[in-house]
Symmetry: C2
Subunit: 305 residues, 2 copies
C-alpha cells in the first residue's frame, strides 16, 4: 500500500468570518489562516464543519480557497473540505482544489440521503475519483456521523484504500468514538488517521495516529502542539489532561459560536462573532462569561493576533 | 393572511433520468414530465427527494429546469426544489426559478448542521427571502425529517407565515406523521398543505388539505387523481384504500430505484433504471419481481408512455 504522509501533526480547520452583509470576509479569513500557521498549526483544513462550509455556496468556497493561496499560503499545507451532497458539485470543488495545488482534500460522503449502502458510497467515491482523473488527488475521508449522519464503515474504508491506494490516503475521524478510531488504526497501519478532536491526540499517537484535526486549533493550537511535540515524553499525560480539560470547557457552549467569540475577543474585533444561519452568534454576555471562565479556571491565554 | 392557491390537487415530483455517462438526461426528463401532466398531475415538483435533487449539482439543477420550460412546460405548474445546505446556493437556485416564472419553489431547511434552533432556521429563511427580494417568490416549505433530519416545528411554520404572509404560502409534509399534518391544518387554515404521500390524501382533503405531492405520482397519477376528484363522493374510501395498498406495495422495495424500474419497464427503456450514487439501481430480476407483483396482486396498469 502506497501512502501519503504529506499531512501530520496538529491541523486546524479554519473558522469562516462574515461581513456585516452576511458574506464571507476573505481578508479576515486569510489573516486568521496565517495566524493559525504562526500559532503552531502544521496544516489547515478550511471548509470543514467548523468552517461552516456547508453554509457556503459553491462559488464562495472556491473563492475563499483562491484567496488563501493568492494571499500567500502554501497550497501544500491546505486540505480543503470538498465533499458536497451532489457528486457533480464534489467533483467541481475537488478539481479546483487539485488544480490549485492543495496537498489534499477532506471529503465527506454524500449526506442528504440516509441509510445508503456501503456499495452505494463506494460507487460514489469511485465515480468522483474517476471523473476527476488526476493523480495529484489525495483524499482524506471525512467521517463525522454525529453531523453528517452518513458515516464510513471500517470495511468500506478498507475497500476504498484497496481500490485507490494512491488516492484514498487518510481519514479524519470526528465520530468521537474511540472504538471506531482504534479499529481503523489496527486494521490499516500506514493509513493516515486523524482523530477529529485533541481529546484523542495522545491515544491516537500511541496507536499509530497521525496527529489531530481539531476545531479548537482555531484558538489553542500552541497547547495542542505541545502534546504532539512531547507525546513520547514523561509530561505527555499531564499536557494531554490540560488540553482535554480546556476542550471540554470550550465545547460546554455551542462550539462554533464560542470559537468565533474567542477570536472576536482576542482580536478585539466584534465582527468575528458573525455567523451564518442556521447558526446564531453567541449572545455577547454569554460569550464573555465563557471567556472569563476559560481564563480564570483553565489558565487559558488568549494570544494577540 | 394572504395565501396562494396556485397549487392544489395531485402534484408529482419528477424522477431524474441519467445517461450512460452518469449525467442527467434532459430529453428523457422533459418527456417524462410532459407525460406526467398528461397522466393527471396538476403540477410538478422537480428536484425533490424523489428526483435525486441533492445528488444534482447546482448547474445541473438549473439546466434541467431550463430544459423543462424551454421544452414547453408552462412554468406556472412548476414548483422546483430549491433548498440547499448553503444559504447562498439556495438564493442562486431560487432566484433562477423565480426569474423563469415558476409558480412556486419547494424549500428544504438547511440540512447539514443538526439540532439547530427555530430561531436559526427563522433567520435562514428570512435571509433567503430578503436576499431574493422578489414579490413573485412563493415558498412551499419542505418538511421531511426522516431524510433531512432537520424539520420545521408547527410554531416555526406559524412564525414564517406571520412574517412573510405573501411569500411563505404552503408546505409539503413528508414527515409521514399525521399528527403533525393535522396540527398544521388545524393551526393555519388557508395555508396550502400537501401531505407528502397519497396515503394521507383523503384524510388531508377532509381536514382542509390541498391535495398531495407524492413520489408515486411518477407511476400512478391517474389513480391518485381519482381519489382527489372523488373525495367528496361515496367511493372515496374505497378508492383511497386502493391507492394506499399500491403505495405500500411499491415502497416495499427501495422507493426511488423501484419507481425508476417501473418507468423503465413501461417505456421499454432499461436506461431509465440508472441512478446516481449513493443510490444503486435495483437489480433487474428484483425489479421484474416487484413489477409482476404490482400487476398481479394489485391490478396495477402500466400505461404506455
Amino acid at each position: 500500500m502506497t501512502v501519503s504522509h504529506d499531512f501530520y501533526g496538529v491541523i486546524s480547520p479554519v473558522l469562516t468570518p462574515f461581513n456585516d452583509d452576511g458574506n464571507p470576509d476573505a481578508a479576515r479569513f486569510v489573516a486568521h489562516a496565517k495566524w493559525l500557521l504562526d500559532d503552531g498549526c502544521m496544516g489547515l483544513a478550511p471548509f470543514g464543519t467548523t468552517g461552516e462550509a456547508n453554509s457556503l455556496g459553491l462559488e464562495e468556497r472556491m473563492g475563499l480557497l483562491d484567496a488563501l493561496i493568492d494571499g500567500g499560503i502554501e497550497p501544500k499545507v491546505l486540505m480543503p473540505g470538498t465533499g458536497l451532497c451532489a457528486l457533480s458539485d464534489t467533483v467541481t470543488v475537488s478539481q479546483h482544489a487539485v488544480e490549485r495545488g492543495c496537498g489534499g482534500v477532506m471529503m465527506l460522503p454524500p449526506f442528504y440521503y440516509k441509510e445508503v449502502s456501503d456499495d452505494g458510497l463506494f460507487a460514489y467515491y469511485s465515480d468522483v475519483i474517476e471523473r476527476i482523473g488526476d493523480a495529484r488527488l489525495k483524499i482524506y475521508l471525512y467521517h463525522i456521523p454525529p453531523v453528517a449522519q452518513v458515516g464510513l464503515s471500517v470495511e468500506l474504508v478498507g475497500r476504498l484504500i484497496k481500490a485507490f491506494p494512491d488516492t484514498v490516503v487518510g481519514l479524519k475521524d470526528s465520530s468521537g468514538d474511540w472504538d471506531y478510531t482504534k479499529a481503523l488504526l489496527d486494521a490499516y497501519p500506514g493509513f493516515t488517521i486523524f482523530p477529529g478532536s485533541e481529546i484523542f491526540l495522545l491515544d491516537g499517537m500511541r496507536n499509530g495516529g497521525a496527529g489531530c484535526i481539531t476545531a479548537t486549533g482555531n484558538v489553542n493550537a500552541r497547547m495542542i502542539r505541545g502534546v504532539y511535540d512531547n507525546w513520547e515524553t514523561e509530561q505527555a499525560d499531564d499536557l494531554q489532561a490540560q488540553i482535554t480539560a480546556l476542550r471540554m470547557a470550550v465545547q460546554a457552549r455551542p462550539l462554533i459560536p464560542m470559537l468565533k467569540a474567542i477570536v472576536a475577543h482576542y482580536r478585539n474585533d466584534p465582527g468575528w462573532r458573525s455567523i451564518r444561519p442556521p447558526f446564531l452568534p453567541l449572545d455577547a454576555t454569554e460569550a464573555q462569561a465563557g471567556i472569563t471562565e476559560l481564563m480564570e479556571q483553565y489558565g487559558f491565554e488568549l494570544k494577540a493576533a
